[in-house]
Amino acid sequence: MLTKRIIPCLDIKDGRTVKGVNFMELRDAGDPVELAARYADEGADELVFLDISATEEKRKTLARLVYHVAEKVNIPFTVGGGISSVQDVDVLLKNGADKVSINSSAVKNPDLINELVAKFGSQCIVVAIDAKQVDGEWKVHLVGGKVPTDVELFSWAKEVEERGAGEILFTSMDHDGTKNGFANEALARLSSERNIPIIASGGAGKVQHFTDTFIAGKADAALAASVFHYKEMEISDLKRELKNQGIPVRI
């Protein structure tokens, strides 16, 4: 049967991993390729690279990084951060990325989703949505959650699916960084209303949070960064524990 996916996220700045830590075994903890290979060996099901650098030169650096990751890593990976055109996506896919994720650019120009799907297929277009609750309503935020919009989460998710996106990566800004668990209520609603896979993001702190997001949150995959970066949790231990709790995972 189809298993639930565990997806470590690597934040990239100028071709290097940020939030990098003391992986004793790594020659260079800031090298995304080495860290990616390590996560793959530990049992990660996919990887997400989020480029947070903001220079004009970053495209070239990012494309080169994607090439080297594809060369070394034998599991799928998604690249996101600042992607706003067909040309951006073309470069990343040609260099070996399996999927790309778009976020602010899709909200500003929803037709971009249709264009990308028409050219590259649904299977490689992930739409990332950052949202938080404002007066009891989930509102989409842009630029890494900094800029509020009037767009409502569930209607935006519906539109995203209708426009052909293959997956939704939902980050709750209310939960991100808290380590108190994922936004399972919103996730469950998203997952029930939509017919494409939903990736949960924001709030992972312990194993039980993953179990909860797969059961109560009905998530198809769960993404986390710091718990893996800071080695608070080994992916192999996490998956073993999930399996013990009856969650289908690849071991």
């Binding site: 049967m1 189809l2 298993t3 639930k4 996916r5 793959a40 099901d45 090439y67 594809a70 060369e71 034998n74 599991i75 799928p76 896919l93 040609k94 260099n95 070996g96 990325a97 399996d98 590259f120 297929g121 649904s122 299977q123 490689c124 293959g166 997956e167 017919n195 494409i196 896979p197 198809d220 995959a221 690849r250």
Partner: protein, 193 residues
């Protein structure tokens, strides 16, 4: 070993080249008919939409070349689907190698299926040293039903063919190039056929 990856402009093939490189093998991306005919192994990749991919194949005349090949040929993902008789995607006639018609997932499951699933009822040299229920990575909205060519079965609300074989033609719905060590072993087994 001369390995040809058929280039017909359909999708990302970089990761297939890399997967062979990790095995210490060089695979050549080519649309040249002579190169394809004389290769010892042929890979027929494909990502994207079926009718436009078939259109590209026809433009280059490869739709007539591929079914005539006599060496081992491995279709991957959309490549496998195009080797069937027909696919519902874009109402497209296939190459007619495998004896089945590709359908859309339409029975209360999320579409596309994305992630790691298991392969069972393994029946081929392709799976030498691969255990039953091994995990492989899939991304697809259409599937080949079970048929006499089925050499691996996966379950996604229903049982379907995650791999097919007829004579020298092999097809896998999953992405061996992205399926970790299991996928690498399957590619190696194909090369060793």
């Amino acid at each position: 070993m001369k390995i040809a990856i058929i280039d017909y402009g359909a999708g990302n093939i970089q990761s297939i080249k890399f997967a062979f490189a990790r095995l210490g093998l060089k695979a050549e991306l080519t649309s040249d008919v002579e190169t394809i005919k004389t290769a010892e192994k042929v890979i027929f990749p494909g990502v994207g939409e079926a009718s436009s991919a078939m259109h590209k194949l026809k433009q280059s005349g490869l739709d007539l070349i591929i079914p005539e090949l006599t060496q081992p040929v491995l279709g991957i993902c959309l490549g496998m689907q195009l080797m069937c008789e027909y696919t519902e995607e874009g109402d497209t006639k296939g190459l007619g190698i495998f004896h089945t018609k590709v359908k859309k997932f339409n029975h209360g499951v999320k579409v596309p299926q994305i992630g790691w699933n298991q392969i069972t009822e393994l029946k081929s040299e392709l799976y030498r040293d691969i255990p039953e229920k091994a995990y492989i990575y899939l991304v697809h909205s259409f599937y080949a039903p079970l048929c006499k060519d089925t050499i691996a079965v996966s379950d996604y609300g229903l049982s379907y063919s995650s791999a097919l074989q007829w004579r020298n033609f092999y097809g896998v719905q999953f992405h061996p190039e992205k399926s970790s060590t299991v996928g690498a072993k399957i590619l190696k087994n194909f090369i060793d056929l």
